[in-house]
């Protein structure tokens, strides 16, 4: 069994305590309009193309066996429908314009990378974070990884949106020290509009999660006009009010990184650009959550 991973970030300092390695799983079933990792949603390999680096040398077209890339009037033209994601064009590019996003790792391979920074985790009280995408969509692989990491005594975090069956969550929890729980909004209708899925299952799982006693940090992306109404935030504060093991609520104001990223994938539609919420709203919201703690 292999896991499809799209990034491994070492010296990750924002995904749980201490120095961490964050492993980003590829594939997600919540399609947030503002996603800052739009390449993580699709659960398959993808070809990334950075047009700024391309010098139209034609080397990628030369090596392509499927005519998915050809040179038309001196410029690279890519046919998504013909591409088999064989990856031959990637090493042919000397400019680093092409990259295969997503790589299949065996648990052993992935673990061997994670464990290289063990000294740093121990010295800093850090560990490993499984993020995504949605790691729980590759539950079996995730469970294997969690068990390996716990066997080595590493602190483990799981970054999830909880849009999966509860049984699947329950099964991995014994090997999770901290859950980074993404909540994208309390209003079901708006949630559906913003992310393509409604939030009933998510909130139900969240309630159950809070009852298990596992440490939780809630993270809420805030996007102007989409989920930044004060009612929405009040509802969230009320929802979290009685959670015993909630150690923090982190508000993540929107940034437009995903827009640029989405433009680098022919397989992706261009992402719409949103706005960050007003800073006084963020201050107000912080106050709201502080009071509820």
């Amino acid at each position: 069994m292999k896991g499809l991973i799209f990034n491994i970030q070492r010296f990750s300092t924002k995904d749980g305590p201490g120095i961490r390695t964050t492993v980003f799983f590829k594939g997600c079933n919540v399609n947030c309009a503002w996603c800052h990792n739009p390449e993580s949603i699709d659960g398959d390999l993808m070809l990334r193309f950075d047009s700024k680096r391309c010098i139209n040398c034609g080397r990628c077209a030369e090596v392509c066996r499927y005519s998915a890339t050809e040179m038309i009037e001196g410029r690279r033209l890519y046919h998504l429908e013909k591409c088999t994601l064989c990856g031959d064009c990637v090493p042919a590019c000397g400019e680093g314009a092409l990259e295969m996003v997503g790589k299949n790792y065996t648990a052993e391979e992935l673990y061997s990378i994670i464990i290289k920074d063990e000294d740093f985790y121990r010295e800093s009280g850090g560990g490993v974070t499984f993020s995504g995408g949605e790691p729980l969509l590759q539950q079996e692989f995730l469970l294997d990884m969690l068990k390996r990491c716990k066997a080595a005594g590493l602190h483990t975090s799981l970054d999830t949106a909880l849009n999966v069956e509860w049984s699947s969550i329950e099964e991995v929890l014994p090997w999770v020290d901290l859950v980074l729980l993404d909540i994208k909004g309390m209003n079901s209708e708006r949630h559906l509009r913003n992310t393509g899925v409604s939030n009933e299952k998510i909130l139900e799982n969240a309630e159950k999660l809070s009852a298990t006693g596992v440490e939780i940090i809630v993270r809420m992306p805030i996007v102007k006009g989409l989920n930044d109404s004060i009612e929405e935030l009040r509802a969230a504060a009320a929802f979290l009010k009685d959670w015993q093991n909630l150690s923090a609520v982190e508000l993540l104001p929107y940034h437009s990184l995903g827009v640029d990223k989405s433009s680098e994938y022919e397989a992706l539609e261009a992402q719409k650009r949103f706005e960050a919420p007003d800073s006084d709203l963020i201050d107000k919201a912080r106050e709201l959550f502080n009071r509820s703690e």
Binding site: I8, Q9, R10, F11, S12, T13, K14, P17, G18, I19, T21, R59, P91, A92, C93, G94, K116, D117, D119, F120, E123, S124, G125, G126
Partner: protein, 768 residues
């Protein structure tokens, strides 16, 4: 909080006119050189010094507790022209042989142009500061006088001249300090007048007296005699008794001590010029008429006193705090890390570093074994320090900078091509080993041209083991050639420099006792720092041969050789393939193991040189390039890591530009695999984005990050916390970023004062 007058002085320094010059020095020096031209060398030296010190303007600024500054003017065109003509007279209108007679080593024409040949020194050393403040100038003078009177050297005129010169030079210092005492008295500054009178001849008793005496010595050496780039040795150690006595006698509060330290640090910065001395193309550097550039003085703090005994004390804390609050380019504080270092102190160090204070860390746990291997005696080893840029020394016991930038990529090229440079033939290079290390390369200590290797019995290697043997063979060939020629040079230098006292000979151990300058053997240690350059390029190139030729058998050695000869002409496919192979800096063992191969090959040869040398000098290996990685790369053909001909080689201990992309822990893990217990210096520049280590939590992460790096055997680390956006913005709006201070290699610079090339180099290395 910094004292008001210091804040004012810092603000004023940023506004300082780049043309401001301590012009009196040049005029008085010329006057005196003429007046005493018929005197013997050493007395003449001291009389010139005395003439300057008797006549220069005294400067005491409002609010100062530590006084002593020089008077500057903006030279007019005539003055500038006259000063420029002196440089020509001294250095341009003379033959190389004559230059050799005057001085043996210089580091570039830019370095020597403002230096009068009789009044010559390069600094880059540490005085015996403790002896200066605990014994005083009178003791030093009497010691020289006694030796002179004893008749021990009466049959050697060079030596008696040397000693009588020294006596006059100490006297010149004393009289100069007395002038300040009078000036202070006239201005109604009774306390300062009293201090100056006391330390003009006698030892210091209080912290303020000690710092004041140190400052006068530095002012004279650095601004008048041109002996700068000091190492101040372990300042938190030798100043501690003064500080503790003051506290015990209740004549000083800790906060006042902090104020004095801040003033002393600021004095060091105040006398420097704007501009980055490694940007020789920049206008500020070109127009400079000073003997003091922007080179920093190093202060060593913390570290072990002996096995298991930490030197961290109250002054170490105060000095880190001063660096943190001041964030000046100068002085340059080296913190010596060791196992079990006080965690509170370590946090303070990391906090200063993440705010871009000029603080770097060295590891006692690797340095001490390395220094022991390369000739430092056990009784001296715990006292080690550094001067700029990142050269190790034993303070007080050796003279100034001697170095060779060893291009570690050259032996790779020679190994690949049977001992001949790859560009030979087509580009018209001649294969002539005898031409290696020409006079100029030896003088400036840089392998700046095309080199030839040993072309005998270089059979085509059949395994990676064979190839490594060839690499070592070529490296050995080059360095033994260097040693042979240098030893001849030094014999000549010693002959020429008999009796030629330099300012530093006054304050080193051994020179007065032997009545011999350090060049001719007065001090205990003499070493040449062998600065191994381009390690990562050599490592990546060797790993590529291993992977492409011997492991995967994708290409033959001769195929690669032919492609490199033509700089990958029509073989872009091969270049792209080589470029895509794993690189040093990503924590990949199959590549990183070559860091051990290259470092050990280098250290083995240096160790062999120390065993077989016949000259005065021993050799110490470091991994360092300073900013010369572009120049050294320009001489080389393409390499099997995918680097094109003439492109830069890797800088210092760093991976090749842009080759590390697995995060900073991976970078540090790779670097820590270098066997640093054999390497005696050289920097590692680490870049972090401010957002990754912000807040208290971020500080803990940084402290853990560097502490693990040291525990894993890293040797040195220095940090720039800056985003690419900020650097680009600073290029556009320099006025808004005047105090953006960045670490370059062995020194810091204000980004907006750096030359365009240096700015671009830094931006290229900065992610985000």
């Amino acid at each position: 909080m910094l004292p008001k007058h210091v804040e004012k002085s810092i603000a004023k320094w940023f506004e300082k006119d780049g043309e401001a010059t301590f012009f009196e020095r040049i005029e008085l020096q010329q006057e005196a050189a003429e007046k005493y031209k018929n005197d013997a060398y050493a007395p003449r030296y001291s009389r010139i010094l005395n003439h300057i010190l008797e006549n220069i303007t005294l400067v005491i600024k409002e609010g100062e507790n530590i006084v002593g500054d020089v008077f500057e003017i903006i030279p007019n065109d005539d003055q500038r022209e006259w000063a420029e003509s002196l440089s020509e007279e001294w250095w341009e209108d003379v033959s190389e042989e004559e230059k050799q007679d005057r001085i043996m080593f210089y580091y570039s024409p830019g370095w020597i142009k403002r230096r009068n040949p009789i009044f010559f020194t390069f600094g880059h050393l540490s005085y015996d500061w403790n002896a200066i403040i605990t014994k005083g100038l009178d003791w030093h003078k009497e010691h020289a006088q006694e030796l002179l009177d004893s008749g021990r050297y009466s049959d050697n005129k060079d030596k008696t001249d040397f000693l009588s010169g020294a006596v006059e030079a100490y006297d010149a210092h004393t009289k100069f300090i007395r002038r300040y005492a009078e000036e202070a008295e006239n201005q109604g500054l009774k306390e300062i007048a009293g201090i100056c009178r006391k330390i003009a001849g006698g030892p210091a008793e209080t912290l303020q007296e000690a710092l004041q005496l140190l400052w006068f010595i530095v002012l004279v050496s650095q601004k008048v005699a041109g002996c700068g780039v000091f190492c101040f040795d372990r300042m938190d150690q030798y100043l501690l008794p003064f500080f503790e006595n003051d506290l015990a006698a209740e004549r000083l509060a800790e906060e006042e001590a902090f104020g004095l330290i801040v003033e002393f640090f600021n004095k060091n910065n105040e006398i420097l010029d704007h501009g980055d001395h490694m940007s020789q193309e920049s206008e500020v550097v070109k127009n400079n008429l000073e003997v003091t550039y922007d080179d920093p003085n190093y202060i060593i703090i913390a570290g072990l006193l002996s096995k298991g005994v930490s030197g961290v004390n109250k002054l170490s804390h105060l000095m880190i705090r001063a660096q943190h609050e001041m964030r000046l380019r100068n002085p340059f504080v080296v913190v010596r890390w060791h196992e079990g270092i006080d965690p509170v102190f370590w946090r303070e160090v990391c906090d200063a570093m993440r705010h871009n204070a000029t603080v770097v860390v060295y590891n006692d746990e690797t340095m001490i074994p390395a220094l022991l291997e390369f000739g430092i005696e056990a009784e001296d080893v715990y006292g080690y320090g550094y001067y700029g840029c990142n050269d190790p020394l034993i303070p007080g016991k050796e003279g100034g900078l001697r170095q060779l930038w060893v291009n570690l990529v050259w032996p790779f090229e020679l190994a690949l091509n049977g001992g001949r440079a790859l560009c030979a033939g087509e580009n018209g290079c001649v294969h002539d080993p005898e031409a290696n290390f020409g006079y100029r390369d030896r003088l400036i200590g840089l392998m700046s041209g095309v080199y030839s290797g040993d072309d005998e019995d270089n059979n085509e290697p059949e395994s990676m083991g064979d190839f490594i043997k060839l690499y070592k063979k070529q490296l050995r060939f080059l360095l033994l050639q260097y040693m042979e020629k240098m030893e001849q040079d030094y014999l000549l230098e010693q002959k020429y420099s008999a009796g030629r006292m330099r300012i530093e000979d006054l304050f080193l151990q051994g020179t007065i006792d032997e009545a011999t300058n350090w060049i001719a053997g007065g001090t205990k240690y003499h070493k040449i720092t062998m600065q191994g350059s381009g390690m990562a390029t050599a490592v990546d190139s060797l790993a590529a041969i291993d992977l492409a030729v011997f492991r995967d058998k994708k290409f033959t050695l001769s195929e690669i050789r032919e492609a490199l000869k033509t700089d990958f002409k029509d073989r872009e496919d091969l270049r792209i393939y080589l470029d895509s192979l794993p690189k040093f800096g990503n924590d990949i063992d199959e590549v990183d193991k070559y860091a051990t191969v290259v470092t050990n090959a280098f250290c083995d040869v240096v160790a062999e040189m120390n065993e077989t040398r016949t000259g005065l000098y021993s050799y110490m290996p470091t991994l360092s390039t300073d900013r010369d990685f572009t120049g050294m790369g320009a001489c080389l053909a393409a390499t099997s890591d995918g680097r094109r001909a003439g492109e830069q080689i890797s800088e210092n201990q760093s991976p090749y530009l842009g080759a590390d992309h697995s995060g900073v822990t991976a970078l540090l893990n790779s670097v820590a695999k270098v066997p640093f217990d054999r390497i005696t210096g050289g920097p590692l520049n680490v870049m972090l984005h401010p957002s990754t280590i912000d807040g208290d939590d971020g500080l803990s992460k940084l402290a853990a990050l560097f502490s693990v790096f040291m525990k894993r055997g890293g040797m040195q680390v220095q940090l720039n916390v800056v985003g690419r956006d900020e650097l680009l913005d600073a290029q556009q709006k320099p006025d808004q970023h005047k105090n953006l201070c960045v670490r370059i290699t062995g020194y810091s610079a204000y980004f907006v004062q750096m030359g365009k090339i240096a700015q671009e180099e830094l931006i290229n290395r900065t992610v985000n």
